[in-house]
Symmetry: D2
Subunit: 159 residues, 4 copies
């Protein structure tokens, strides 16, 4: 069993005409996994709908508690990219689980979004990596202790 | 360095109006990897453009030779799904490399294709799995010795 | 009321993995019109599912009969492009109706299909043109008596 | 010749990761028209990049001046939907031209955008309607003097 927790971030953004702006909507993960014919046992839980810049210590405690409470040892988290490293740090001392964080630079609702590719990538990473906390972005697995997002380059780097 | 060899199959199919049918076209992999902001070192080589039902022993020998000749120990192959298991068998005794085969049930040119998800999945698998030959489809890693495609269910199964 | 009759053709093609080829499926028109927030009164009827090269005189008689039997004076027909001109000829003497034929060079299921654009274009044409039979393709209205498809140029021309 | 002027609005919005929000980008019209195989003579000019709620009287005077200065009698304008009616009013007394305004409820960059359908629709309307100012949205032509946007219903209505 793989536990998938969604927290919001760009990957979950949909466009609201009535507000003339983007807001975080229902997670696209269940539809995405079904459309891509994923049959490996998994559960999707939408924990929160927040831009990652708005995540508080209390939110991170809630994410952490959900992971600890899960009976799964494979945990995939979708998350905004701006504070993904910070959340990974807050999870660093959880033992006995493979925890992989991913997200997207472009909302899943966009034609050219990196969402499907990144979730596919992360879903393999969470099934194949040893216990630990990882960031899976840009077609690469990053050690969460030494990763950082380079905003101007639209990518994660090894520090 | 990851060597990516494309061989054709559904993933590479494009629609030709002049023929009123689908044919295998140029591989979408380089554009797909660029659009998904993949920076991990890789090379894409289009080995052939064939439906996998048309692949011959000679074609499989060519795929094998390309892998053996490569200086990379991580090799990703895109391939039609119908004979993916058969090609994997022909590669089974290559030592010292992680070889991952993937493909798609729907051409990458389609709105709801599983191509991006599957390539993302396979790209993580090839970087994280031990040496050996694997099939990466349906969000799952299959041992190539015991995988089979269930055509009516549109998915791969463990035998 | 606008009567929309679908007959098949490239616009309706979907990919069947089990056959490794494209076949004509259920018409995408109802979903397409709903997704594009079309509220103008209309009905969609799938008359047949044929490649236009396979349409017979009997099929054309059936299309003609459906139009004549309709109480609507605005009729939109989706049709394969290869024999669209021929079908238009078979409808040329229907009086008192605006009949517009459209189709697509790429199936509606493709990312870069011209299907939505063409149906949008034809839906305006059928509401604004005088009675007669027209072909609406390539962002242009063609007199069905002088239009022809240039297969190599992927477009319709005025003869 | 058809003159196409773009002014911004939802149709032109692209997602900027660095800002975690949507901004108006380069107009998608030239690519969209090319991808849809439009060969009818036309020119695309990006007049401005503004959300329609931010358009000033001075902006409307600029749009008006561009139309008056054009030697084309067919003018298509892409525009944000929120003040499309107001801009249409500012153009109402231009004589000798068919002026059609269209836009989208969802950015053209989105998978399920109504942008292509609406531009296709408007391109037919501008070629077939008598001189005057029209709004082409929701698969319908609206008299700009009596149209209004119902924000909660995501559609235009006849008043």
């Amino acid at each position: 069993m793989i536990d998938i927790f969604t927290t919001g971030g760009t990957i979950d953004k949909v466009y609201f005409d009535a507000l003339s702006e983007y807001h975080i909507g229902p997670t696209p993960l269940p539809n995405m996994l079904a459309e891509n014919n994923v049959f490996v046992p998994h559960r999707v839980t939408q924990l929160m709908r927040k831009d990652s810049l708005e995540l508080t210590d209390s939110d991170r405690a809630e994410i952490r508690a959900a992971i600890v409470a899960s009976d799964a040892d494979k945990v995939l988290i979708t998350h905004g990219t701006d504070t993904m490293v910070q959340t990974a740090s807050a999870l660093a001392d959880i033992k006995g689980k493979t925890i992989v964080l991913t997200g997207a630079m472009q909302p899943a609702t966009l034609r050219n979004s990196d969402a499907e590719f990144n979730v596919g990538f992360a879903l393999a990473a969470v099934q194949t990596l040893a216990h630990g906390v990882y960031i899976a972005m840009n077609g690469e697995v990053f050690d969460s202790a030494t990763a950082r997002k380079d905003r101007s380059a639209h990518r994660f780097m090894h520090e």
